[in-house]
Symmetry: C2
Subunit: 445 residues, 2 copies
């Protein structure tokens, strides 16, 4: 059960432990070190890039039992939680206090706060609220030596180097967070969700650009293409317009006045760009149904094929249409069944290829096409990954974004935490990233 | 002219260079290394913690000539700028495009973007917008080896470790930023500034807490005590009520409706907490005058004494009154002339002691009192520095906030960039911070 995450690559599990406390995690790390074994930390295994998949014999440290909410401070709006706590469980437990944890990856009903921490996870509402790193204030952290240190702190500001921001998103390569101080946000007094249907991708993308250019930052701004809308409608009957070529889901939060202003502004922009469906949901049940559609998108794809491979590139908002056009061409060329659902507001694309890995040679075709899709995104001034991490599956594409010197700088930081390379080896950085010595002289390989 | 910054400690200048390009900076670094000299980077020298003061013979690299605006992208809302560009000059140059650079330290008419970068500077508007790190997307960076690398990037998201966030705020100890990609923000369509006078510090502090607790995040929320208000009024005649024991300056930005709602909400909270002055300025001239008062506060102190020492602690908002009371007691006990002006919204205190350094033993008394003020802030769950950095003057107080293991983790990162300890030596980390070897064994000292 621990050999795979939600990505496509299976790994090798030799031994797994499920510790219950920070001290037990530290002990596991020390024992692994004593026996010369590498260590792979893992949460719920919902990752999409193979980050928690062990690639060599070692110790898998599964953190799901560290799932307590230790302490909630309503005045400071913070909580200390275990890394194994499921994301949505935290917000559910806080509902009566009027607070929530903002990062909301689509996996939030299964993924853990520790996994969100490791990948610096995003989600629809990260457009306005920022990704996970903006919501992590501190972490108790077990180093690769088995020491327990504090990164960041409860104090409102921490002087010195911001180590907290470097361990968030480090995908288990620097150590293991065992207790996490999260920032909580106030539930907004009012919310409206808009469903907008368009006759073309261009019209939807122009609407996105014009909304942002007007100075409005919606709480979320999501796009789906027609194949995805149809799959979702078949699956959860969210009431999406299946005749639309592109659908936008926008959300506005704030005081009732702000919500009304924002809703009107978005409606106007959408109609100016030929929207043929405009629905505003303020009722909680109707809003929940619209969101259920979006959040079930990956599940809906299972109707089409048993496996899927999901990209996670980011492009400047102005390049959305150009890059999408090229991505459709690539899918066509390789004969792939592709659906699109993505965070349009921040240009984070998720082309999703549905396929059957039992079909001979299919996975290789999917991966070849994937590389081309990443390349067109990067060439348009974009990046390799928005929120899912690099893990194993995007590791060898890092050279598309970083120079040798850049990768070397990252490898040096990793060395500073983990000189023996025992924490989640083989992930994130391609082999040979550490290519210069301290004097800037190339290390012979 | 380069021996001191705006702090109290003079240093030692042996050689200063004023390069004009990234390549010249890299050459300077390589030459210094060749001759075994330490390197101290410097901007406008407005720092308040001695961060740019050389403490041993070496090369001072003054970056004020790298002051170009290379490129403004209005669609992406970014600009590449030189580190020597003066903060306010950037926003002035962008006024017709309706954009600005959000971090606004009080020194902004003199301090450079590179200096803001080095200290992760704050400012009144960082309550809503975040400190400098939230506004830096990338940097071309000269390493201590004289290599040129890119931290972060133009792409909307950068995978791997977030090195950008670790060099921002590193006070010149990891290398030198020579070209900086800043995020620009849209000028708000409407703004109102409120001046509120209160009969007690408690009333003003309760108003701050209740505003934030209501879910409103004002663009700025500043407090001044009576001695500071009187000094400021004497100096710039901003129209502050000199009979008030505490004055709040609050700013609300957004659409006209949002501004009206926010202004009304703040007024109500203030009146409920006994405000005896409530003035709302929407006219640009009147608003500018109110802000001139706040931004001239440090200058106004020169009427009292030739020198000042400024603290920069941060405390939880709920502890504001308790900590301030203790700070007043400490000032009384040591017979010091203290004025207060601070970022109340984020609990960032700036007790300012006016004194004459020619008076024998006075500086020592000021520093002893400073340490006690920091201690009461830290004991209340606060921190050592909010925005001015650690530099030389707060270095030996780092132990109040960090454990040995924590400091060692920071020292390891520094070693990863600069194993020979040549970049701005003697700053930020106290001597002996690197106290464990890679296996976690204590290094004998």
């Amino acid at each position: 059960m621990f050999a795979k995450d939600a990505g496509v690559t299976p790994g090798l599990v030799e031994a797994a432990v499920l510790p219950r406390t920070t001290e037990e995690v530290a002990t596991c790390v020390r024992i692994a070190r004593k026996h010369g074994l590498p260590i792979v930390p893992r949460g719920a295994g919902t990752g999409l890039a193979g980050g928690a998949v062990p690639t060599e014999p070692g110790l898998l440290v599964v953190l799901t039992r560290l799932n307590e909410i230790h302490d909630v401070d309503e005045v400071a709006r913070t909580a200390w939680v275990g890394p194994g706590l499921i994301n949505l469980d935290l917000s559910k437990r806080l509902i009566e206090r009027g607070l929530h944890f903002a990062p909301d990856p689509s996996s939030q009903s299964a993924s853990t706060i520790g996994g969100n921490f490791g990948t610096n996870a995003g989600g629809p509402h990260c457009l306005a609220d920022g990704t996970t790193v903006a919501h992590i204030l501190a972490a108790e952290f077990v180093t690769p030596d088995g020491d327990i240190v504090m990164m960041g702190g409860e104090a409102p500001d921490t002087p010195g180097l911001d180590l907290r921001s470097i361990v968030v998103g480090s995908e288990g390569t620097l150590g293991i967070a065992t207790k996490i101080l999260v920032r909580l946000m106030q539930n907004p007094p009012d919310v409206a969700t808009l469903l907008l249907g368009f006759p073309s991708i261009e019209d939807a993308a122009t609407t996105v650009s014009q909304i942002i250019a007007s100075g409005l930052i919606p709480a979320a701004l999501e796009m789906m293409d027609q194949p995805m809308v149809q799959a979702v409608e078949n699956f959860v009957h969210a009431g999406y317009p299946t005749d639309a070529v592109a659908v936008l889901l926008a959300e506005i939060t704030g005081t009732p006045e702000t919500v009304l202003d924002g809703t009107n502004a978005i409606e106007q922009v959408a109609r100016r760009n030929n929207a043929n469906t405009v629905r505003v949901a303020t009722d909680p049940v109707e809003r929940a149904l619209l969101w259920r559609g979006r959040k079930s998108a990956f599940g809906a794809v299972a109707q089409k094929a048993p496996d899927y491979y999901l990209h996670d590139t980011v492009v400047p908002r102005t390049e959305l249409v150009g890059v999408l056009t090229k991505i459709y061409e690539i899918a066509d060329e390789y004969g792939l069944d592709m659906l699109n659902v993505f965070h349009a507001g921040d240009g984070n694309l998720h082309p999703l290829v549905a396929f059957d890995s039992k079909e001979s040679g299919k996975l290789e075709t999917v991966m070849t096409a994937a590389k081309e899709m990443v390349r067109v995104s990067v060439e348009a001034g974009g990046s390799l990954s928005g929120e899912h991490g690099i893990g194993l599956e995007k590791r060898d594409l890092m050279g598309l974004v970083f120079s040798e010197e850049d990768l070397d700088a990252q490898a040096r930081i990793r060395d500073a935490f983990d000189p023996d390379g025992v924490m989640n080896p083989g992930k994130v950085l391609p082999t040979g990233s550490r290519c210069f010595d301290a004097a800037g002289v190339r290390i012979p390989t």
